[in-house]
C-alpha cells in the first residue's frame, strides 16, 4: 500500500516545469513576432486588445502542441508494446466485489443492455470476473422507455442467468442528474462496494481491463480515481468516423502527454473510470455553487469537480493511458455534437466559479481552466478575427514600417508569413507527430488500413476539422454568450444512432451560420477586399454549413468512405471480442412485445407484478398517489399522466382490475398472448 503522504513530493515537477516553460517561451516568441508586425506603424486603437487576444489564443494552441509533443516522445520511447489488457502485476489475495454503475436517462434499452451484456460476457471469460455486479440506474422519465427498460433488464437477467449480478432501479425524481443518480446509489448501497466503476449508457469495457483497473486500485490505496481513456467506436457517419479516427490516431499522443505531466493529478471524464467508494462518499459530495443557474446552483459537469475534490482530499487521480478495452460512442452528427457541447459548455463555464477557490490543487485548477477555455476560446477567436479585419481594413495590417525584433532581416509581410507558419505548425503539428508515429508502428498502421489509406484519412480528417471549425466556433460562441446571459440549457438524451439528418433540420439549425458567412463575405469584400481570400477558410464553411452538416452526417456516405479504407480504426479491422459481441447483440432484432409496454403493464399480470416489485424494491411505500380520474380514460393518458399512474402502485393495481373487468376480451387476449 502506498503512503498517501508520499504524494506531497511531486515526481513530475520537472515535466510540468518543462511544459510550462515551453508553452511560455513559444507564446512569448509568437507574441514578439506579432507585436512587431502589429506595432510597426505605431500603436493603433485595436492593437492592444488584438495583442491580448493573440497571447491567450497562442498560449492555448501552444499548450495543445507541447502536450502532444510530449506524448509523441513518450509513445516513441514506449514503442509498439501495445496496451495492457490483462493483469500484469501481483495477484490480489481477496478480490473485492466491485459495482459497475450504468446510469441511464431515456436511452434505447436494447442498446444499453447490449453493452451491459457484452461487458458481462467478457467478464465471465476472465478470472475474478465474477467479482463484479452491475447496477442499471435509471433516471428515465418517459413512461414507455421506463417500462421497456424493465422488460429489457428482466430479459437480460433471464438470458444470462445473472440473478443477483445485474440489478435495476429507477428513481422517481431525477434529482441532481447523473451526479445525483450516482450519489443516490452511494447513499444506499455504496458501503457494500469498495470500488465503483462508472459507465455511460454507451460504455463498453472488456473484462481484462476491468479486472486490471481493480488490481491497480488494490495495489495502490492512494488512488482515488483511475480513468481508462475511452475510445469512440461504432459510428457510421463521416463526421463521427472522422472523430473516431482522430481519437484513435491523434488522441493517443494527447492522452500519453497529458498523463505524463499530470501524473497523479489527472482528471476524470465522468465514465469508464473506477472510483474508491469510501473516498468518493467522504470527499466528493458536490457543493452547490453560489448564485443562480446557469453559472450558479447545482454543478452540471460534475466529473472535473469530483476529480478536484478527490485530489483536494489527498487521493490520486490517475489517467491510465496504457489501458485499452474502454469504449464509448461519439455523437453521430454535427448537430448532436453541438448539442452535447452546449451541455458541456454550461457545465465547464460553471467551473470558473470553482477554480478561484482556496484549497484546490494547482493542477486541478489547470484542468478546470482548460475545460472552460475549450469553449471560451471560440468567442475569443471570433473577436480576434473581427478585430483583425477591422485593423487590416484600416490599413494597420500588414505594416510597412521597419521591424524592431531580432528578425530584422525579414520584411514585415515575411515575418507575418513566418508567424502564420508557426501557427500552422502548432495547430497541425500533433497530427504530423501522430502520423510519424504510425510509420514506426507497422502493426498499427496495418490496422488503420495501410499507409495510403492512413495518409488519405489524415488528410481528409484535417480537411473536415478545418471545415467544421468555423461552425463549431459560432456554436460555441453562441453557447458561451447564452450562458453568460443566464439562459439555461435543457439536458436530453444523446441521439446515438442515426441514418443522417434531414435538410430541413440542418437548415433550421445552420441558417444563422449561413447568414453570418454571407455577411462576413460581404463585409470583408467591402472593408478590405484583399482579406477576402484570407478569410475564406472561415467564410466558405459558414456559407456551406447546411449542405456540409447534411453530408457529414450521412450514414451512407460514411460507409462509402469506409469502403475506400478511409477513417478505418483498429477497432474495426481487428475488433476485440467485447465489441464484436456488442455489435452482434445490438444488431439482433428486439423481441417486440405484443402491445405497447404501458398497455402490457395494465393488462399482463406478470408485467404488472414485475413493475410493482421493481418499484417496491426501491421505495417500499410507493412513489406517490395519482389522481383517481385517470382511471376514467386509461386509453387516453398523456405521458405525464402515465408516469403518475405507473408511480402509484395502488391506483395501478386498481387500473389493472378495471381493464380486466371492462376491456373487450379479444383485446385482453391480444395483450397477454406472450
Amino acid at each position: 500500500m502506498t503512503d498517501r503522504r508520499a504524494i506531497a513530493i511531486d515526481p513530475s515537477l520537472w515535466t510540468r516545469v518543462s511544459l510550462g516553460l515551453l508553452v511560455m517561451v513559444t507564446t512569448w516568441l509568437g507574441a514578439w513576432m506579432f507585436m512587431d508586425v502589429l506595432f510597426s506603424d505605431g500603436v493603433q486603437p485595436p492593437d492592444v486588445p488584438l495583442l491580448m487576444l493573440f497571447v491567450l489564443l497562442f498560449l492555448w494552441i501552444a499548450l495543445g502542441f507541447w502536450n502532444a509533443t510530449l506524448g509523441y516522445f513518450r509513445c516513441m520511447a514506449q514503442g509498439e508494446a501495445g496496451p495492457v489488457v490483462s493483469p500484469l502485476g501481483p495477484e490480489i489475495d481477496t478480490w473485492p466485489v466491485t459495482a459497475i454503475l450504468v446510469p441511464i436517462y431515456n436511452e434505447d434499452p436494447h442498446r444499453v443492455m447490449a453493452g451491459v451484456r457484452a461487458t458481462y460476457e467478457s467478464l465471465a471469460s476472465v478470472r475474478h470476473g465474477d467479482r463484479f455486479v452491475f447496477f442499471i440506474l435509471s433516471d428515465t422519465n418517459k413512461p414507455d422507455c421506463w417500462l421497456a427498460e424493465e422488460r429489457a433488464w428482466h430479459d437480460l437477467v433471464g438470458a444470462m442467468n445473472a440473478d443477483g449480478r445485474i440489478f435495476y432501479r429507477r428513481r422517481p425524481r431525477n434529482l441532481g442528474r447523473k451526479a445525483g443518480n450516482i450519489e443516490d446509489f452511494c447513499e444506499r448501497w455504496g458501503g457494500d462496494y469498495r470500488y465503483l466503476i462508472i459507465f455511460d449508457a454507451d460504455s463498453v469495457m472488456s473484462g481484462p481491463t476491468l479486472v486490471e483497473m481493480v488490481r491497480r486500485m488494490e495495489t495502490d490505496a492512494g488512488i482515488g480515481i483511475l480513468q481508462a481513456p475511452p475510445t469512440p467506436v461504432n459510428q457510421h457517419s463521416i463526421f463521427a468516423r472522422a472523430q473516431q479516427f482522430a481519437a484513435g490516431v491523434y488522441g493517443r499522443i494527447f492522452t500519453a502527454g497529458f498523463a505524463l505531466w499530470t501524473q497523479e493529478d489527472g482528471n476524470y471524464y465522468g465514465h469508464n473510470a473506477i472510483l474508491r467508494t469510501q473516498a468518493f462518499i467522504e470527499h466528493c459530495g458536490l457543493p452547490l455553487l453560489p448564485g443562480r443557474a446557469p453559472l450558479g446552483g447545482p454543478i452540471l459537469s460534475h466529473d472535473f469537480v469530483e476529480a478536484a475534490l478527490m485530489r483536494r482530499a489527498g487521493f490520486k487521480v490517475v489517467i491510465a493511458h496504457d489501458l485499452s478495452g474502454s469504449y464509448e460512442e461519439c455523437p453521430a452528427t454535427l448537430i448532436d455534437f453541438a448539442q452535447r457541447d452546449q451541455r458541456w459548455c454550461q457545465g465547464n463555464l460553471q467551473h470558473l466559479r470553482v477554480v478561484v477557490r482556496y484549497g484546490l490543487h494547482p493542477l486541478s485548477r489547470v484542468h478546470l481552466l482548460i475545460g472552460a477555455m475549450s469553449y471560451l476560446s471560440s468567442p475569443l477567436w471570433l473577436l480576434f478575427m473581427l478585430l483583425g479585419v477591422v485593423s487590416a481594413g484600416a490599413g494597420h495590417l500588414p505594416p510597412t514600417a521597419p521591424l524592431r525584433s531580432g528578425l530584422t532581416y525579414l520584411t514585415s509581410p515575411q515575418q507575418a508569413l513566418l508567424l502564420f507558419g508557426v501557427t500552422l505548425l502548432l495547430l497541425f503539428g500533433p497530427k504530423l507527430w501522430s502520423f510519424m508515429l504510425l510509420w514506426q508502428e507497422t502493426r498499427r498502421l496495418h490496422a488503420l488500413g495501410g499507409d495510403a489509406a492512413a495518409l488519405w484519412s489524415v488528410l481528409a480528417e484535417t480537411a473536415i476539422s478545418v471545415l467544421t471549425a468555423p461552425m463549431l466556433m459560432v456554436f460555441h460562441t453562441t453557447f458561451v454568450v447564452m450562458t453568460f446571459l443566464g439562459k439555461k440549457v435543457t439536458w436530453g438524451p444523446q441521439r446515438r444512432i442515426t441514418s443522417g439528418i434531414h435538410w430541413s433540420e440542418a437548415a433550421k439549425v445552420h441558417w444563422p451560420h449561413t447568414l453570418l458567412g454571407a455577411a462576413m463575405v460581404a463585409g470583408v469584400a467591402w472593408w478590405s477586399p484583399v482579406l477576402s481570400w484570407w478569410m475564406s477558410p472561415v467564410t466558405v464553411p459558414l456559407l456551406l454549413s447546411i449542405p456540409m452538416s447534411v453530408w457529414l452526417s450521412h450514414r451512407r456516405l460514411g460507409e462509402i468512405f469506409r469502403g475506400w479504407g478511409w477513417f478505418v480504426t483498429p477497432e474495426e479491422t481487428e475488433p476485440p471480442m467485447v465489441l464484436i459481441r456488442q455489435r452482434e447483440l445490438t444488431a439482433q432484432p428486439e423481441i417486440a412485445p405484443a402491445c405497447e409496454d404501458f398497455q402490457a403493464v395494465l393488462t399482463d399480470p406478470r408485467r404488472l407484478s414485475l413493475h410493482l416489485a421493481i418499484m417496491r424494491a426501491y421505495e417500499p411505500a410507493g412513489f406517490g398517489p395519482a389522481p383517481r380520474e385517470l382511471l376514467d380514460r386509461l386509453d387516453d393518458l398523456s405521458p405525464a399522466e402515465k408516469l403518475a399512474l405507473l408511480g402509484d402502485p395502488n391506483l395501478l393495481t386498481e387500473a389493472h382490475r378495471q381493464v380486466w373487468r371492462d376491456w373487450p376480451l379479444p383485446r385482453l387476449a391480444e395483450s397477454v398472448k406472450n
Binding site: 447513499e187 459530495g285 458536490l286 482556496y358 387476449a669
Partner: protein, 131 residues
C-alpha cells in the same frame, strides 16, 4: 369501456375448462392463464369459479365477481414468479458528504492588488515628510 356482452369467447378458451360461451368465465380463465397458472390448475379453478358465482346475476356484476376472484386465485402464481433479485438489501445508509468550496482566492479582491501600491505610496509619503 363498457363490457361487450356479445364478444366471441370461443377462441379465447384457454386450458381444459370449457367456458360454454360464458364471456365472464372466459375472462377469468384468461386471467389465470396470464398469471401463469398451469392449465390443469386453471381448469380446476375455473370450475370452482363457475360453481361459486350466481349464473343469473347481471353480466357486469358477474364479470366483476369473477375477475376479482380470478385475481385472488392468480396471486399465488404471481408470487411464485421467478423474479430476479431487483436490488440488494441496504445494509447501512452512507450519506454523501456535501463538500464546501473554499473561500474565493484573495487575489480576486481589489485590496490584494491595491494594498502593495498603497503601502508604497504611504512609505514614499513618509520618506518625503522625513526629508
Amino acid at each position: 369501456m363498457a363490457l361487450n356482452e356479445h364478444e366471441s369467447v370461443g377462441d379465447h378458451n384457454v386450458g381444459a375448462a370449457p367456458c360454454d360461451g360464458d364471456a365472464s368465465l372466459a375472462r377469468a380463465q384468461l386471467y389465470l392463464h396470464a398469471c401463469g397458472v398451469p392449465d390443469e390448475a386453471s381448469a380446476t379453478m375455473t370450475r370452482q369459479l363457475q360453481a361459486a358465482t350466481d349464473p343469473d346475476a347481471p353480466p357486469e356484476v358477474r364479470t366483476r365477481m369473477l375477475v376479482d376472484r380470478a385475481m385472488a386465485l392468480g396471486r399465488p402464481a404471481l408470487d411464485e414468479l421467478a423474479l430476479p433479485v431487483i436490488l440488494p438489501a441496504i445494509r447501512q445508509r452512507r450519506p454523501v458528504h456535501r463538500q464546501k468550496l473554499g473561500k474565493p482566492l484573495a487575489m480576486l479582491r481589489p485590496g490584494w492588488w491595491l494594498a502593495p501600491w498603497c503601502r508604497l505610496l504611504r512609505r514614499r509619503a513618509r520618506r518625503g515628510n522625513d526629508d
